[in-house]
């Protein structure tokens, strides 16, 4: 029978310089990190760079990881913080170089089918709608609805009270429902 080492065991080995152990952690959690970063940034070329950045930061702070939280939670926290930094940089660039006109979202005619093209169009609309949310609201949506963390876990990751998580989630989902109303109604 093959023994699958726990994250803590792998982290201990990685701390002692075992790069294969770190690679195993990386392969185990890369999808979670990619989904979190992609949820925060949308369809962007920055996703790949940022996922790399998250694991590099994790590697550099291996000695500081005390094991109080699960490895996945710790990585998600790094991913969210790195994404928030990237969104701040993106906002600064946009203010400097791009027109300040509000991006308008044009909803398609009703009648989405489940074809590949429709899936891409729908994803594009979701990304545009997510872009309308404030970064901190977006973080709550990603943690709760995309990654599936509980309110308590999301609060711990973001370092905010649970009540704030709930109020941000409520406001964010209301905004998303406003923007995506026709699509959601159609799906139902």
């Amino acid at each position: 029978m093959t023994h699958i080492p726990s994250d803590d065991t792998l982290i201990d080995r990685a701390r002692r310089g075992d790069q294969n152990a770190f690679r195993e952690i990386l392969e185990r959690h890369q999808q979670l990190v990619a989904r979190t970063v992609a949820g925060m940034l949308g369809a962007s070329a920055d996703v790949d760079d940022l996922v790399q950045e998250v694991f590099i930061r994790f590697y550099k702070t291996l000695d500081r990881f005390r094991g109080d939280a699960a490895c996945s939670t710790y990585l998600t926290r790094i991913a969210i913080n790195a994404s928030l930094d990237a969104l701040r940089r993106r906002k600064r660039m946009r203010l400097r170089f791009v027109s300040r006109d509000d991006e308008t979202i044009t909803l398609p005619e009703p009648g989405f089918r489940d074809t590949e093209t429709d899936r891409f169009d729908r994803a594009e609309l979701i990304n545009l709608a997510m872009n309308k949310l404030k970064p901190h609201h977006r973080a709550v949506v990603v943690l709760r609805l995309v990654d599936g963390y509980s309110t308590a876990e999301a609060a711990e990751i973001l370092g905010i009270p649970q009540g704030t998580v709930l109020s941000r989630l409520s406001r964010a989902t209301a905004r998303l429902r406003d923007i995506l109303g026709p699509i959601l109604a159609e799906e139902e």
Binding site: Q19, F22, R23, L26, E27, R28, H29, Q30, Q31, L32, A34, R35, T36, V37, A38, G39, L41, G42, A43, S44, A45, D46, V47, D48, V51, Q52, F55, I56, Y59, K60, S72, R119, F120, R122, A123, I126, N127, M130, V141, V142, R144, L145, V146, D147, G148, Y149, S150, T151, E153, L169, S170, T173, L176, R177, L180, I183, L184, E187, E188
Partner: protein, 121 residues
């Protein structure tokens, strides 16, 4: 695959939930280029290399100097230890290693250490 927390929020639209998950998965698929793990491991190896290389280069370049310095330091310490045997007042390890005169109440307030010789004639 990593384990996902099992709890689901109570106050949300399931269609919105599935659309968000589907979109995040699509964004991740399109945003992450192939061989991510290999690229990250290469960057980590590159991070470790400069420091190791620097130490290796420094050690190779200055090995004779470092060895000579160590021998010199050992010689001084041995000599100081040998000399300190003759002091009347027992010196501390620091005083022995650095070859210092043992500090006493008399020597601390003395302007001229030679007047209060601590060595036996």
């Amino acid at each position: 695959m990593n384990q996902r927390p099992s709890s689901t929020p109570r106050d949300h639209n399931p269609h919105l939930h599935s659309l968000l998950c589907e979109t995040a998965e699509m964004n991740a698929e399109s945003g992450v280029r192939p061989f991510l793990a290999d690229r990250i491991m290469n960057r980590i190896q590159a991070l470790n290399q400069p420091e190791e290389q620097l130490w290796q280069t420094l050690w190779l370049a200055f090995r004779p100097v470092a060895l000579a310095s160590m021998l010199l330091i050992l010689g001084f310490v041995s000599y100081n230890t040998f000399v300190s045997r003759n002091y009347e007042v027992e010196p501390t390890p620091t005083e022995i290693v650095f070859g210092l005169q043992p500090l006493t109440l008399t020597t601390a307030y003395s302007a001229n250490l030679d007047e209060f010789s601590l060595t036996t004639p």
